[in-house]
Symmetry: C2
Subunit: 217 residues, 2 copies
DNA sequence: GAACTAACTAACCAGATAGTTAATTAATTG
DNA sequence: CAATTAATTAACTATCTGGTTAGTTAGTTC
């Protein structure tokens, strides 16, 4: 009894699942902070509190580890997005909800945009070979297509909006602001990350997108 | 006479100005391609066809060299922008001209957006200490402020548009599309860099911004 | 409880990395 | 033309890099 404490979770000295999890979490942080080339395998191991060889044991290489981190990141944002209940909303409000969602998600998960950035610096070579991520994003596009169709039919939205262009613009307005916060804050001499400025940016984004997609009467 | 050819430019074996220029040009390419951490000092020297120590002789360090490259990039885009003759245009058209300019400039100078990206990955630490870049960008903001004031006065533009937000949105819609072209093309399964798609993106950007800034009558 | 498997560790490696040193040589100047 | 200065080179260094090797040890299975 004394050997196995009962009211604490058991701490086996070996735990493959936990080790994998710790590595993935540490890798996400490190890749987001430093980019792919800037990330250091030793630093990931240190952050995870794990021997460096464990990364190679479980993931094979720095590249494969990054691919896994990226896949997980895409899955998480799309799962959260899919959890929104948009079907009962009027089409214009559904679009506004998506603008708000992507902004909130970027703010809550700053590592997401940095990982995407890192991947594009690598010319998207990891994401190209991920069938899963491709599936995930296809349904994401389909959802927007549905909303636009619904809005075009009931006359609330324009009928000539390309869902790809719209998705890109929604992401762009928030993503660019956040990823370039350092140069922008310096150049425009304003703390663009203050709560007031963040709220204002969301207002501008919604205003801009609404104006573009809503049918003018 | 035969020693110094007259109809060719002289090629002195030593040429400080030319060496500096070659280093800066090579550094711009390398930093844009690989980011700050990913860039290799040896590769810059090779590209420039110059001994590595020349970089240290003229620029002191990898960091200072990057700062210089970044400053030059900002100066170039703002100089080109300032050369536009916008005063005689109606305010809405002046805004459209600026949307078109930034898009064309990004396409013509893909290294510019990649350098900005690299700098933000470095948390903007180089640009913070560049007084010149700050000056350059202040006049860039003033120009937009003037256009908005003119448009608000003559009733063609809304009078509640923040020039900072507008500048950011204009940059965002193009910048994001281009910097993330690899993941976006994969995810949406479309070659977003084909001439047709590029033209369509400019159309969407102009449509979006016009709709937001123009006063609805 | 012996045999086996998978988790884990430590020490190591070859090549790369930013930056330095010290000497050489071409242009300039008085 | 001698002295000086600035451009240029090659060789070097200490440290870091992703990845490997070879072994040890904790759980599991039969």
């Amino acid at each position: 009894m004394t050997q196995e404490p009962q009211n604490e979770e058991k701490k086996p000295r070996r735990n493959a699942a936990a080790t994998r999890r710790k590595i993935l979490s540490a890798a996400k942080e490190e890749f987001a902070q430093a980019g792919f080339e800037g990330a250091r395998v030793d630093r990931i191991a240190d952050r995870a509190g794990v021997n460096k060889n464990m990364l190679y044991h479980y993931f094979g290489s720095k590249d494969s580890l990054f691919s896994k981190v990226l896949d997980d990141a895409y899955r998480d944002i799309r799962q959260n997005e899919a959890a929104l209940e948009l079907d009962h909303l009027p089409a214009p409000e559904a679009v506004m909800a998506l603008v708000e969602f992507s902004w909130d998600y970027y703010l809550k998960h700053p590592e997401f945009i940095r990982l995407l950035n890192a991947e594009n610096q690598q010319k998207g070579r990891h994401v190209k070979s991920s069938a899963e991520t491709n599936d995930i994003n296809r349904t994401h596009l389909d959802r927007m297509r549905e909303i636009l169709k619904r809005g075009a039919t009931d006359g609330t939205l324009r009928d000539d909006i390309d869902p790809v262009q719209l998705n890109i613009s929604i992401a762009a307005l928030g993503f660019f602001y956040l990823i370039n916060q350092h140069t922008l804050s310096t150049v425009y001499q304003r703390d663009l990350m203050s709560p007031d400025e963040l709220a204002e940016r969301l207002r501008v984004m919604k205003d801009t997108i609404r104006c573009w997609v809503v049918r003018q009467h």
